[in-house]
């Protein structure tokens, strides 16, 4: 499992709808916002890249020092962004694919308004379990 990993789902309009620190390293106060900053800055790159390929998994799109941003863009242009320091691309791909499935299940919930924050604790547990499994 990666030491540092921050996973964020960004909806349209660049609004984060789900955030999770999934790294095994001890959580640091200032790290959380740095992670947000890096991921937020990477949105620009994603915007450019997303239309150049038909693949959903964009691999690593951006980096800051030794932190790498990998992105997976769904068909609805929801971006699953992972900030990580490990280089396990296959694992990240599987992670994204499974989270995408979970996300689709969330979308199927008639009570979930697309674009709103995902508050399901079930989703959270599942994502964290996937992170442990793949990252």
């Amino acid at each position: 499992m990666a030491n540092t990993a921050c996973f964020i789902i960004v909806g349209r309009n660049d609004i984060p709808i789900y955030e999770a620190e999934v790294g095994s390293a001890a959580k640091r106060e200032d790290a959380a916002q740095l992670h947000q900053f890096i991921l937020h800055a990477a949105l620009d790159v994603v915007q450019d890249l997303a239309w150049t390929t038909s693949a959903m998994f964009l691999k690593s799109v951006d980096r800051f020092n030794d932190l790498v941003v990998s992105v997976y863009v769904t068909a609805g242009h929801t971006r699953l962004m992972l900030l990580h320091d490990s280089r396990n691309e296959d694992g990240i791909k599987s992670f994204f694919q499974e989270v995408h499935e979970l996300y689709i299940k969330i979308l199927l919930n008639p009570l979930y308004l697309p674009g709103s924050r995902i508050t399901s604790s079930h989703f959270d547990t599942k994502v964290r379990a996937l992170a442990r499994k793949y990252l």
Partner: protein
Amino acid sequence: MVEPVNSSLGKMLFEEVSPVVMVLCTPLVEETFLKNGLSLVETLKPFCNFSNIDVPVRTSGDQLYRLKKFTLRLFYASDIRQPNVEVAKQRLEHVITQAGEKDFQDLKSDPPQITDILSNSGSEIAPTWFQYYNKELIRTLSFSDHEAFDHPVACLLVVSSKDEEPISKFVALFNTGRLPSLLNDGAMDPKILKHYLLVHDNQDATTERTSKVLSEMRSTFGNNECNLLCTNSSKEGDVEHQANPWASFKSSVSADKLGCALTGDDIVEIKDLMQEFASRHIIPYMEQKVRELNQQISATRKGLRNQIKNLWWRKGKDDVPDSTKGSMYTFSSTESQIRILGDYAFMLHDYELALSSYRLISTDYKLDKAWKHYAGVQEMMGLAYFISDQSKKEAEYCMENAFSTYMKLGKSGFQNATRCGLWWAEMLKARDQYKEAASVYFRICGEEPLHAAVMLEQASYCFVLTKPPMLHKYGFHLVLSGDHYKNCDQVNHAIRTYRSAISVYQSTTWSLIKDHVYFHIGQWYAIVGMHDVAVRNMLKVLDCGYQSKATQEIFLRDFFNIVKKTGMKHEVVGLQLPVINMSSLQVIYEDHRTYASQTSALVDESIWQSLEDDIIPSLNSGKSNWLELQSKLLPKKYRESNVCVAGESVKVDLEFRNPLLISTSITSVSLICELTANTDDLKLDKEPSSLSLGPESSSDHNQGTASGFYSFTLSEVDFTLGGGEKKLVRLEVTPSEEGILKIVGVRWELSDSIVGVHYFQSVLVKAKTNKGRRKNKLTPTDALKFLVIKSLPRLEGSIDHLPEKLYAGDLRYLVLELTNKSESPIKNLKMKISHPRFVNLGNQEEELPTEFPDCLMKGHEQKIVQHETNRTSSVFAFPKGVSLQGDRSLRWPLWLRAAIPGTMSLYFTIYYEMENVSSIMKYRTLRMQYNLKVLPSLETSFEITPSPSRLQEFSYCFQIQQLSTVGCRWGISLLQPVDTILPSKSLLAGQALSCFFMIKDCKKSGTEEEKTMSLPASQTDVKLFTQDDNEKLFDIVNSPLASFHESERSCQGASDQVNPNTVDFILISRLANSSNPSAVPDSSIFLSHHSCHNSIRSSSPLSWTLDGPQTIYHNFSSSLCEIKLKMIIRNTSDGLASVSIITIDSLPDAAGPTPPTVNQSGWRYVPSVTEEMKLTSDVMGSRLGKPPSSMESSPPFIWSGLSSTKVQIQPLSTTDFPLQISVFSPGIYNLASYKLNWELSEHEKASSSGTCQGYPYYITVLQSE
């Protein structure tokens, strides 16, 4: 895209990569020039840029070309050395600090909008001092030994005419001891072009001596190499220059002083001198040198043979150690010469030649592993590619190569890498590759924070300039840069960068980012002393519920510290702490509708309206209702506003929520109101800005504009909100004068230091009390506008000790208390109750004479008051005489009976009118609401079956204390003593009990009209159960039982009221003392259960009885015995019945089921006549018992007289019919061998018919003695 030559990099290269002239001068020369406030170099500098020098140049090729632009760089010999790193650093820091101070004033303004940033063109975005900074940064690297373009091309020796022995001075100046190290340690050729200049000061030197010296010079150094410069022609030294050429070079001194002693002629002379120097001496010299070197190099290095030889030779040098450090290449080495050739060619704008030389040498350096030299050459190659507008790829590759090579050198190469990076970035920018440029800037950040900060900031501006702009990156790099600035105490710059970053992040929902930016910029503003701006920024982070508790505490602590430092109470519109839930806003006010309690105010208006429909007067018939009436009475202008009464408070419920985990104390929460006099000038209220910050201004609102003092009172609430807690707060405003009251907003104090204000405008207000009816007209702001009218009496009412929980059937005595606090009386009280089944009003005002429940017992004489008209409409009008005023209270008895189980809301509305008040409001209503929870208790069911053998007697089963029939018609008696049925005297939970009673129609047969004959009490009431003997029965005729019964009747029996043969029962029971805690807390006294419209369950319309003797003595020896009987038949139906009586003497032989058995004769079974007849509901059962096994063939009696008779019986009437039997022997006879065929013809319905079997009737005939 601009031409490479005209790009900023191109210009930079012209300036930086240009021939260096070393200046050597005597102190007297300096003195001469310092009269102008300038040194020699500074005086000459402005005239070293030639924009149109137009000199023909021929380098390697045969082609001549003309140099247009040319620049010389002048340096004192002492400056020609590598600058001290520390000094350079300090200078750079100074540059930044100065720039920061300059920007300081801008910091107060609002952050720029992102659209503004985007609309700016590239050069406007970045601060101008960046260019300067970059130049300074590059300059720190000048005169390195691995590059040749900083090596002096020429030397300018200057001596003043005042000097002693000028010729020897000239010689002494070029003394090796004073020359820069570059020349001394062999990095460059000490044989350089020398030029001799004699300075003549017109102010204090003589022309004769000067001309003498000049001629001497010319003879010594050669005619061409010597020049004379005459300066300071102005004797007074007060020459003003229109366009001061020095101003742009030296800004520190006041510009008008510069060059004050130089006349225009002097300037022209300097200009000419420099131009001549450049065009006549330097350029030709360089040209010649290039040619020379080129030739030399062609001979030694070009051509295949030389290449191979070179390679071979190089290989042998592989093991030369430490090639990077020492200057292994002296000026005379081939490599250095090639480098010089390249640099000279570059400076003479012959990029082809420069490139080819660089290319040639770079492989050599690479093979030698002279990485620094290699990188330097690569760098120059890149620049040459760029400026000659050749292959972009090559240029970039070279720069990249140079950069990474420099980086490989470690710390020592970093400075060079920085310069390379800057050039590279400029190159990319010139080609609009901003994104790449940004990444280059990012790469040259390095470890030193200040340097990194500047580079990051430059990177951020590159991101804005990319197409499309990468704003996220822009913001991020600005923030990074700001953090670095802060680390080296450049707070001004830190604020500047964050301020720009806010434009990116202000609308973001990335909460951590937003908090970080606003919190830090707030802190920094506080550091520089702009506390108000600091507070404004800090406000944005207060709503940080998602942060950890520690962070929240830090935020709050810092925020309050800063607020304290500002030294005043800030008023903040839209303070985020606590959060106000606007959808919870409820306005509760009372116009003509007043409420007894909070809960009643929250009841849906439509319930009240439907309840009040018939007690509120409507002046206009037809469609118009009382609401329209009300509005007609109001001035048209104010019709939209709500009405409230002076002296009565308007309440606003508002929910506050603490978003934080820390508990927060909030004080002085109050409304902001405006009360304007009731005049025509309805002033337009000023629109409060969305986020205004300043000294208290909301208190201005809280003033009546007409009077100047507070004409209303506000309630203030203090409370503490725990972490994440929500609280509904009730705020009140009580106007004391007439006028127009407007509730503008709410204000509160947070920790005694900051005042939060929230304006209600443009928010949808749920004004509860007028929702719906004025929807079409009312805007939300109007809902908070009230027309205050003169104070009116207000009735207050309450019902004491109304229980919340009680059992079904529970009967309580309660008192309704009404008070009018004001002096003016009210009259015409009317009351309506939503559930008359539950509540009954007493009859008079006075207290009950005896204690409840004894008052309900019989024996207390009470007048029977009829309320027929009132009952039907469930409106109770208080007696005319009742009027209330001046704190007098009216106590009115009230009976409550829980009719059905369930949860109930009882609504009371009391209408009253004001006396002596000339107001637009004529009447008001008081609304009260109480909730009841009724638990199920006894369940009763009654079943009445006709007694088969008796007329109009029925038995039924029930369940406790007193059972009464209602009305006078039915008598009731017990069939069995209660003690035998229920020895324990009480019913336990879940227990069922059946009792049998006999009821009897006491009405005289055949009479339909009600008789007011009074039955003895014992006949209508049955006491089931006594505790002591003298306990009286309950009086069911009087109120309240009677009236409750009335309403029960109407509730229960709406469907069949036609059947007159019904009986109503009231069962009164008492609750045994139970220890069950979940039960109703206060013990209820007694319960009454009403069951109405019980009718006899029977299918036959007839009832009859045989009337005759029971026992007859007869002497059978003399004759047979004839017995006369009478049959009384009653038609219980509504139709005319025709009945035929068929007597059966003999039985058919066939033992079919249909015929009744008449064979029960003889002495077989004599039932005890005295035995109580116990009949179940199935009366026929006993009769259809099995026939006796032994049958006799002959009947023991025969029916004599008619065998078949037909009679007509009127509805509900009785007929007698005589019968006769003949008995032949003594015995007991059952006279059931008859049947009645009846046919019923009703008015409209089809006639029905049927057959009734006879009942057993036993007659005993005995032999007489």
